[in-house]
């Protein structure tokens, strides 16, 4: 009996494999999940990009839930998500921006063209602070709660789907 069972081993192994393959389809293997979910925001202080808007530092992230959006004027998907950010800002969501490895003049022109949703806007020319946030590309968006803890990270541009299913519900639950 055992002898017959052993002949079933190969197909059993394959069944597991096929299930894993099926589960893997549609998942993006290159997306790196954040190591900072549930952890406090890193210690940093970045200078402002514009003369009339404050920059960003750790202390600014401890009062209320906010979105921190890392972007750059040379980044094409950032253009795609920008209207969504404008929309969120108009709806009253607090959004802070970090301009990643960008020339201030280019960033200013870009924001002039597409609109500025940011209440605070800092510039990270070297990208060193972004490394501390675990940023590896742009755009990336973090949801930080009122205690300065990172609760969610979106790798890549924001989509309506992500905003509706993840970000807005989370913001709502944090507001209570």
């Amino acid at each position: 009996m055992a002898r017959k069972l052993i002949y079933l081993l190969p197909i059993a192994v394959f069944a597991v494999l096929a299930a894993a393959f099926y589960a893997g389809l549609g998942r993006d293997p290159a997306i790196v999940p954040s190591a900072l979910i549930g952890k406090p925001v890193p210690q940093f202080a970045l200078p402002p990009l514009l003369a009339d808007k404050p920059g960003l530092a750790t202390a600014d992230l401890k009062s209320k839930p906010v979105l921190v959006n890392v972007f750059a004027s040379w980044c094409i998907p950032c253009r795609e998500e920008h209207p969504l950010l404008m929309h969120l800002a108009r709806d009253g969501v607090a959004i802070y921006g970090i301009d990643y490895k960008d020339q201030p003049a280019d960033a200013k022109a870009w924001l002039g063209e597409l609109g500025d949703p940011y209440r605070r806007l800092a510039t990270d020319m070297e990208g060193r602070v972004a490394i501390n946030w675990g940023v590896y590309g742009v755009p990336e968006t973090f949801l930080v709660d009122g205690t300065g803890t990172i609760r969610f990270k979106q790798v890549g541009p924001l989509t309506i789907d992500v905003i509706d299913r993840k970000i807005l519900p989370l913001l709502k639950s944090l507001a209570r």
Binding site: Y7, L8, P10, I11, Y22, A23, R27, P29, P33
Partner: protein
């Protein structure tokens, strides 16, 4: 017009495949000769039709017919002709047609040259081959049509500049010949399960097709590695990238298959295992095809991602692999029990070989797929890279390589291990000398590196000793040895060649990995760098335009002890159409080492970053691979596998029984 013909040919091929997959099977089961005989012409027709489709694609690329979507996406009118043709398989859709072309090519081969096969077996083999063909033709026609037409743009996007290289252009056909070729071993295995019988004759019939595929895969992997080495600019040649692993896994399984089929042929043992191995080898090819095209794993090589493609191929996989393994579970227990052998015997050594190769394959499979499993199961993600594979694969290879020269020295059924090892004393001495020489020449580096050199010498001299044994060299008069050499079956020479090649490759891999000398510096014209005793003088960089690129070419003059050695001219190329840069490295080889130069970026003060490497024994890596390939080819020409002129052979066999040759 020609494209329509090509498309229609694919549709016809699918219909033929469906017929070929069903009618002969029915005919063989019912002992109906005319129905069974449908298999051979169907296989030939299927190949002809797919070839027609393939040629019409080639035509579309050669004349730059941009109304065909894949031509517009992958070709450009300025490209040299070779790369226009290579563009046919430089994209997903076209490469799938190449895949099916090779599949039907093997089918036609068995139809035309398999005259010595019993008709029912041949019919079943071709039927199974047609099933695979039908599946993939259906996939091509419904989800991956190469003949999709668009409004022709003024010019195309051009081929990825990295692929515009003669070595790489020819690499896919070779690889496909390899791992698609293993489909034939698969078909033979399924046919044997359907028949319910595996015997020595089966093993003999399956061997040439498996060997052909194995040879192609060996040289394909070697060429791919060599391409990476001279293109990528830092002298690396194997990265354990998922797509590389996708070709390496079938190679490991295929090597195991070749060896276990020997046991089936000679001793009528290990039958059920060999059948399983034949199924697994091609299954690994199919899984590899899936991995590369579905976007499930990250890889430098992967084609553009489309999950819908992935679902279809996964479906094909499930049917093919699931079906064959189910048949195996049902039928294998009923295969007649096999011959006995003592643990210490040639069979035992081959079992040892298979165990270790299977473990090696399992290591590569596990490492490649583990990230996928972890991701599918939970939230965390891990990645598995070269450090893992180097740590786990190497310890498994060591016992295998030690056993390689010993195995052929053992007799069948029951052998004297001590005696065999004693007869290898010359190889042992060579190993010791190699270790000492390595220690003397390179006084740095880990101990295992020098030991690995010893292992390489053990392999090479061991292969020579085994051959010398069979020729009774130094123990009998030279004339007798010569006489023996003339009549020794070719497979013995092939074994020696392939095993020695393994040792040569090992020496190359270890030397390059451990003792490579690297000099990365910013140079100004006139600067001289010392590279392992060579003096390399940087002369400067000049512009060098090309048909579809703008280039910068550096000149480096290499001398040793004042005597001129070479002039090396690495380049950087910028391709405006694709907006991509590539680097052309310059390699000067002495046969025993490579001098390797790559040009980096300029700095604002007029200097250029130049990377120089001295890689000892690097050419051995490719040379050893070529030796293994040659060994396989020599084995293919063994008279015992001659598959043409079956009638004459059968008549001769009937008249004079083949004498048993010693050391067979």
């Amino acid at each position: 017009m020609i494209d329509e013909i090509g498309h229609f040919a694919l549709v016809l091929a699918l219909l033929v495949a469906l017929v070929q997959a069903s009618v002969p099977l029915y005919g063989a089961a019912r002992d109906n000769a005319p129905l069974t005989a449908v298999a051979r012409p169907a296989a030939i027709a299927q190949f002809a039709l797919v070839a027609l489709a393939f040629l019409s694609l080639v035509h579309a690329f050669v004349v730059s017919d941009f109304s065909v979507s894949i031509v517009a996406e992958n070709s450009h009118s300025d490209m040299p002709l070779l790369y226009k043709i290579a563009g046919v398989w430089g994209n997903h859709e076209g490469s799938m047609v190449l895949w099916v072309l090779i599949l039907t090519f093997f089918g036609a081969g068995v139809a035309l040259f398999g005259g010595n096969l019993p008709p029912t077996l041949q019919a079943r083999v071709l039927a199974v081959q047609a099933m695979i063909g039908a599946g993939f033709l259906a996939y091509i026609l419904y989800a991956s049509d190469p003949f999709i037409r668009i409004v022709a743009p003024p010019d195309g996007n051009g081929l990825n500049p990295l692929l515009q290289d003669p070595g790489l252009a020819s690499h896919p056909p070779c690889l496909y010949l390899g791992y698609v070729g293993f489909s034939m071993a698969f078909s033979f295995a399924i046919a044997a399960l359907i028949e319910g019988k595996v015997d020595a004759a089966w093993a003999r019939w399956v061997r040439p097709w498996t060997l052909l595929a194995w040879c192609a895969l060996t040289i394909g992997i070697t060429m791919g590695s060599w391409w990476a080495y001279y293109t990528l600019g830092w002298g690396g040649f194997w990265f354990w990238d998922p797509v590389e692993n996708a070709s390496f896994m079938p190679w490991l399984a295929g090597t195991a298959l070749l060896h276990s089929a020997l046991v089936v042929e000679k001793r009528d043992a290990l039958k059920s295992w060999t059948i399983l191995l034949a199924i697994v080898t091609f299954s690994l090819s199919l899984i590899g095809t899936f991995l590369v095209r579905s976007g499930v794993l990250t890889s430098v090589h992967a084609f553009a991602v489309d999950p819908r493609r992935g679902v279809f191929i996964l479906g094909l996989l499930t049917i093919a692999i699931g079906g064959s393994l189910a048949l195996y579970a049902a039928r294998a227990p009923r295969l007649a029990p096999s011959g006995l052998f003592a643990p210490v015997s040639r069979e035992g050594a081959l079992v040892f070989n298979n165990l270790l190769l299977a473990a090696c394959a399992a290591t590569v499979i596990t490492g490649t797929l583990y990230p996928l499993f972890v991701d599918a199961l939970g939230e965390t993600k891990i990645s598995v890279g070269p450090p893992f594979f180097n740590l786990t694969f190497t310890p498994l290879m060591v016992p295998l390589l030690i056993a390689v020269p010993i195995g052929p020295m053992l007799t069948w059924k029951r052998a004297d291990l001590l005696g065999a090892v004693q007869r290898l004393w010359a190889a042992g001495v060579a190993a010791l000398l190699a270790v000492l020489a390595g220690w003397y020449i390179h006084s740095r580096g880990p101990v295992f590196a020098v030991l690995a050199l010893g292992l390489a010498a053990w392999l090479v001299v061991g292969a020579a000793v085994e051959l010398a044994e069979r020729l009774k060299l130094f123990r009998a008069p030279l004339s007798e040895s010569w006489h023996r050499a003339l009549h020794l079956p070719r497979s013995n020479f092939a074994t020696a060649l392939a095993h020695a090649g393994l040792g040569i490759t090992l020496a190359g891999v270890v030397s390059t990995a451990i003792w490579r000398v690297e000099r990365i510096q910013t140079l100004h014209p006139g600067d001289v760098v010392d590279l392992a005793g060579y003096a390399v003088r940087f002369e400067g960089v000049v512009p060098h335009p090309g048909p579809n690129f703008e280039g910068q070419r550096a000149t480096l003059v290499v001398t040793r002890d004042g005597l001129p050695v070479a002039v090396m001219q690495p380049e950087k190329k910028h391709f405006p159409v694709a907006n991509q840069d590539t680097a052309e490295t310059s390699i000067h080889t002495t046969g025993f080492a490579d001098l390797y130069a790559a040009l980096g970026d300029p700095d604002p003060r007029g200097g250029w970053v130049v990377r120089l490497y001295y890689s000892p024994l690097a050419p051995f890596i490719w040379f050893g691979g070529a030796m293994m390939f040659a060994g396989g080819l020599v084995s293919l020409t063994d008279r015992r596998f001659r598959i043409g002129a079956p009638a004459r052979q059968r008549a001769r066999a009937a008249v004079e029984p083949r004498p048993a040759t010693a050391g067979d």
